[in-house]
Structures are given as C-alpha cells and as structure tokens.
C-alpha cells in the first residue's frame, strides 16, 4: 500500500555533492562579513568613514599645517567665500584647513584612546573574571568606584589635574600640543570600566567550558589560557564595544575641549574649534556648523558600523 505524498509540491532534496559536504567551515570573519553586508546603514557608515579619512589625509596634502594655524586678524570672522570655503574664525584662521587638521587629531585621539581603553579593559576584566575570589572583588569594587561618578565629571577633574605646563611635542616633524597626549590618556583611563565588565562576564562563562579544561589538562600556562584560548573566543563583544568606543572618545574629546579644558591651541581638533563659538551665535554660524557637522557625521557613521558589527558578530546582545 502506498501513502499519497501529503506535500506533493516539495521536491526531494538533491543529494549534496562531496564538495559541498566538505566545504570548509566559514571562519568568524567570513560569517561576520556575510551578515554585515546585509546591514545597509552599516555599509553607508563605512562609506562615510572612508570619505572622512580621505578628507583628513588628502586634505593635508592640499593645505599645509602652517596654513591651518596661520592667523590674520585682518580677515577675522569672514563668512564662507571662494577663498575660504568654510569662512574664517575669530582670529582669522581658515576653517576648512583647520577642520582637516582637526579631524586628524580627533581621529587620532579616538583611535589611541580606544586602544588604551581596550587594553586596560581586557587585562582588568580578564584577570578579574579568570581568577575570581579576592582579586575579582577588589578589582570590581575599584571599577564600581569609577563608574559611580559620571564620566564627564571625572574627565574634567583629571584634565585639570594633568594640565600643568605641558610642553609641545614634535612627532614625525609635526608639532603637537602636549595636551593631546593628556586627553588621550584621561579618556582611556576613564572609559575602561564598561569594557572590563563585558570581558569579565565573558570570562566567567568561558572559563568553565571544556576547551579551557582541556587546555589546562595539557599543561598550558595561565597566560596562554587567558590570552590564547579564552580571549579569542570572547572577541566579538570586545570588537563591537571598541568600535562604539571610538565614537564615544571623539565625542568626549569634543565635550572637554568645548568646555575649555581639552586640547590647547595651536593644535586644532573639532572640539576646540567649537569652543567659544556660542559667543558668536548671532554673527557667525560657520564657526560651529562645519566642525559640528563633521563630528555628527563621524559619530553617526561609527555608530552605524558598530550596530552592524553587533548584528554580525554578536546577535545575542542587542541594546538600543
């Protein structure tokens, strides 16, 4: 007796060829790219980011830094014109050139501060999560102590604390205000608690898994277990958090520079170009429009990329 096929429309599965069966498993980065590609806004974000980086680097070839810091009070506060497309600032510097060099510094601050933040966060989170016990509770109390005061308050106090007479630095033939280093350091030093908590949570679950037991059984050192076995497995949330951290660092730099405790002139950043712009709100819109727009664009595009990365790498965690 034959039973009628209840779902006649479904074709029987084609047998897989040997090649397809043995296709190499996708690596994490390939899988992530496949998912990331589907996230349209994230691709737009990457596009804007690339354009911004080109703007900041290629623009440096068009205008010299001397030109960006050159001031002529005779042409102060000029509206955008063909000579100065973005206008000139309070003491007659060209705003277009300054946004280019300011962008370099802002991006630099964002990237290096995040590197510092990530290093600190990983080390503290890893040690705390892996060893547990007294070390864990001490480190976590310390983390909470930092988290308890809003970051911007902490930053202002630290900016004031480290702001003595900082000499200008000359790196690669360019002169930087030493306050750039200070700002990078304080942003890095105050942002790690969130990351440390994420890393700690990952380590707490992963250290109980079988592959760690296996690694321990084969006699791997503690250092190896932490950095070569557990850390690569918890990389997804770290990458996401670091990406979003760049946007955060750029915004924070802009805030403290805006409040007058950040990077000192002559070095331009997008933040300190805005300082004092509100005094000229009714006279010169170009003072705040262009740097502010650039900050908005870069933060927005980094946030889009971060969101795409989160969907691609770490679909479980989904905040706003």
């Amino acid at each position: 007796m034959t039973v009628a096929n209840p779902l006649p429309n479904i074709q029987p599965l084609k047998p897989l060829s040997l090649d397809e069966l043995e296709a190499p498993p996708l690596t994490l980065s390939k899988m992530a790219w496949l998912k990331f590609r589907r996230h349209k806004m994230a691709l737009v974000g990457v596009g804007i980011l690339v354009l911004m980086i080109l703007y900041c680097t290629l623009g440096g070839l068009v205008f010299s830094e001397k030109f960006a810091n050159y001031n002529d009070t005779g042409i102060a506060l000029q509206p955008p014109s063909s000579v100065h497309p973005f206008g000139t600032d309070v003491i007659g510097r060209d705003i277009l050139a300054r946004t280019i060099y300011g962008g370099q510094i802002s991006l630099l601050i964002g990237l290096i501060a995040v590197m510092l933040e990530t290093t600190l966060g990983i080390i503290i989170g890893a040690v705390s999560g892996y060893f547990g016990g007294l070390v864990d509770s001490l480190l976590m109390r310390f983390t909470e102590a930092i988290l308890i005061v809003p970051q911007i308050f902490l930053l202002l106090v630290m900016a004031k604390f480290f702001a003595g007479n900082i000499p200008n630095l000359t790196i690669l033939g360019r002169e930087f205000s030493g306050s750039v280093v200070v700002i990078i350091a304080i942003i890095g030093l105050t942002s790690w608690p969130y990351l440390a908590r994420i890393v700690r949570a990952e380590f707490l679950t992963l250290k109980e898994s079988e592959f760690v037991l296996a690694a321990r059984a084969t006699g791997s050192s503690t250092f190896d277990i932490i950095f070569r076995h557990i850390l690569p497995n918890s990389i997804a949330p770290i990458v996401v958090s670091a990406t979003l951290g760049v946007a955060n660092a750029i915004t924070l730099e802009a805030y403290i520079s805006f409040l007058g405790l950040g990077v000192r002139p002559p070095t331009a950043t997008w933040g300190n170009m805005l300082e004092g712009a509100y005094n000229y709100i009714d006279k010169a819109y170009w003072l705040w429009l262009f740097p502010g727009l650039l900050i908005l664009l870069i933060v927005l595009s980094i946030n889009f990329v971060g969101d795409g990365l989160r969907d691609a790498l770490d679909p479980r965690s989904r905040t706003i």
């Binding site: 003595g164 802009a254 509100y278």
Partner: protein, 328 residues
C-alpha cells in the same frame, strides 16, 4: 565610595595653587600666603588633609600663628558630619553654594526627564504596535541620529534657528541665556519660556535610548501568551495594549529611570554652559577651573551618594512592582 573619595581628593589636591586664585591681588605677600595655608590646612601632609576633610579637625588643635605650637582648636566638622568645608573662591560654605544651585538643576532636569519619559512611552508604544511601518523606520533612523548628535551641536543649532533667525524674521523668538528676563522679573511664565530650548536639547539626546528601549520591551510583552489570552477572551485592543502589555513592559523602564535619576543631579554640563543656566553643572565647571576643592568634592560626593541610594531604591521598587523577584 571611600575609594573614589580618596582618589578624587588626591587629584584635586594637586590641581594647582588654590591660594593663587584667592582674594585676587591681595594675597601676594609671602607671610600672608603662609598664614592662609595654615588656616586652610594646606601645609599638612595630604593624608592629614584627607582625615580633616572626612571627620573634621575640631578634636585637635591647629597651629595658626606659625610658632610651631598647635594652640587654636579646629572648627571644621568634616564631611561625615555634613560639613563640606568652605569654598575657597567665595568663602561661603560649600554645601550652601551647592544647595543654592540644586533647585535650578533639578527643575531643568526633572522637566526634561518627564518630557523624555512621556514622549518615549508614546513613541515607543506606537512604533511597537506598527512594527516595520514607515513611521517605525523613520523613528528608528531619527533616534539613531539623535543618539549620535553631540549636545553642543544640537544646542547651537537650536539657538541659531529658534533664537537668532526667528528674531531676524520678526517671529516670536526663544531666549537663549539664563532663567529669567531681567526686565520681566521672575515669573513662572518667564521660567517656562526660558526652559523650552534647554529642555528640548536635553530631551532629544536621551529620548532615542528610551524610546528604543520601550519599543523592544513592548514588542516582547505583546508576544506573550497572556496578551493572546486577553485578545481571545474578547477584550478591546486598547485595553490589552495599555493595561496588560504596557504595565508589564514598563517594569524594565523603572530600572533605567532609577539609574538615570542621580545623574540628573549633576545636570547637563554642556547644556547648562551653553544656555547659561545657573545650575550645578555650571557651578562644577566654574569651580573646577579655579581649583576649588571643597565645592568640587561636594558635588562629586553628592552625586556618588545619590547613585548608591537610587540603586538601592530601584531594587526595592522593582521588587515591589514585580512580585516574581524575591530578594533573600
């Protein structure tokens, strides 16, 4: 708490010479400087200064006239007994200075929080009900932009459009600085009028986070079995959404509001600065840049205490609202 207070104290001690900012030009003579340093205890080692700040120095004697013998009883009571010291800039008690600014900040921030929560509830519920509609997508995009928007850019933009250009076009324009118009006097109407811009700016920034959050908790609640049951027994849609779903969806919102509230005390530093709002955020900036330890420490400690208290309160309220949670 102790840890952060020690950390901050050590840093603040090194924030430059507080005596230099004191009294303008009058404190230049060397003996005066020494006398003042003794009076404020700056000549002591940092650990002693910290103990004096924490528990006061009225149990011991300090040397005021500089002959090496401690003879005058101290008068400071210490933070643990509610004495935050005297502001080095204005010579007023630090606490009095802070408390005089507190109502302004609270007014600004509570109004903003209220606007944010009510607006976010409305938008969040609406976009959860119309998931993936044009409106929902629009809100998602807008909230991403609002979330990424630096406050100062928004504030300057709003000022430029609503104050500068409205004035130019002869429309009624919004005021940009302060709480009152000096000519119109301190009337509630004036206050409201001055509140509009700062509140809008603060709201746009935190609005996006809240509305996204409410949207996702609301979506989760709408997919629960009890909603289907409520629908199945024929309750009107309005009732299921607003009574059954929203009630359960708003539980997690209590948590974020509770955790956000203490940070409102600090106020929005940047917003207060731009709109010249005389609140705690501006007090903080003014006194940080002048190295005024007692006031800065006072503000920081106030926020830190508020954070701890509100965390405990949130836990308690949460357990009270949600009977599923039990604390042992």
């Amino acid at each position: 708490m102790f840890l952060i207070s020690i950390l901050l104290f050590v840093m603040l001690q090194n924030m430059g010479d507080p005596l230099a900012t004191m009294g303008g030009r009058s404190v230049t003579r060397r003996e005066d400087r020494e006398r003042l340093a003794r009076q404020f205890g700056f000549d002591k080692p940092i650990l002693v200064q910290y103990v004096y700040w924490l528990v006061g120095n009225d149990w011991t004697k300090v040397d005021i006239n500089g002959d090496g013998i401690a003879e005058t009883p101290g008068i400071r009571k210490g933070v643990l007994r509610g004495d935050f010291g005297t502001s080095l800039v204005t010579r007023q008690p630090a606490m009095q200075l802070i408390l005089s600014r507190l109502p302004n900040t609270l007014l600004l921030m509570l109004v903003s929080e209220l606007v944010v929560v009510l607006g976010a509830l409305f938008i969040g519920v609406y976009s959860a009900l119309k998931q993936y509609s044009f409106f929902d997508n629009l809100i998602t995009t807008l909230s991403f932009i609002g979330y990424s928007m630096p406050i100062f850019f928004l504030a300057l933009g709003a000022m430029y459009i609503f104050a500068v250009n409205f004035k130019r076009w002869g429309l009624p324009y919004l005021p940009t600085v302060g709480m009152f118009d000096p000519q119109a006097g301190q009337t509630p109407g004036q206050l409201l009028w001055h509140l509009i811009l700062p509140v809008t700016v603060i709201s746009v920034n935190s609005f996006s986070g809240y509305s996204r959050y409410i949207r996702s908790t609301m979506l989760e609640a709408l997919n629960q079995d009890y909603i289907r049951t409520a629908r199945a027994k024929g309750l009107p849609r309005r009732e299921t959404v607003f009574i059954h779903a929203l009630k359960n969806a708003s539980l997690p919102i209590v948590t974020i509001v509770g955790l956000d509230l203490p940070f409102l005390l600090g106020g929005a530093l940047v917003t207060e600065r731009i709109f010249a709002w005389p609140g705690m955020g501006r007090l903080f900036i003014d006194h940080v840049s002048r190295g005024d330890t007692p006031v800065v420490m006072g503000i920081m400690m106030l926020i830190a205490v508020a954070v701890v208290v509100f965390q405990i309160l949130t836990d308690v309220v949460y357990a009270w609202l949600d009977p599923r949670i039990r604390y042992n």
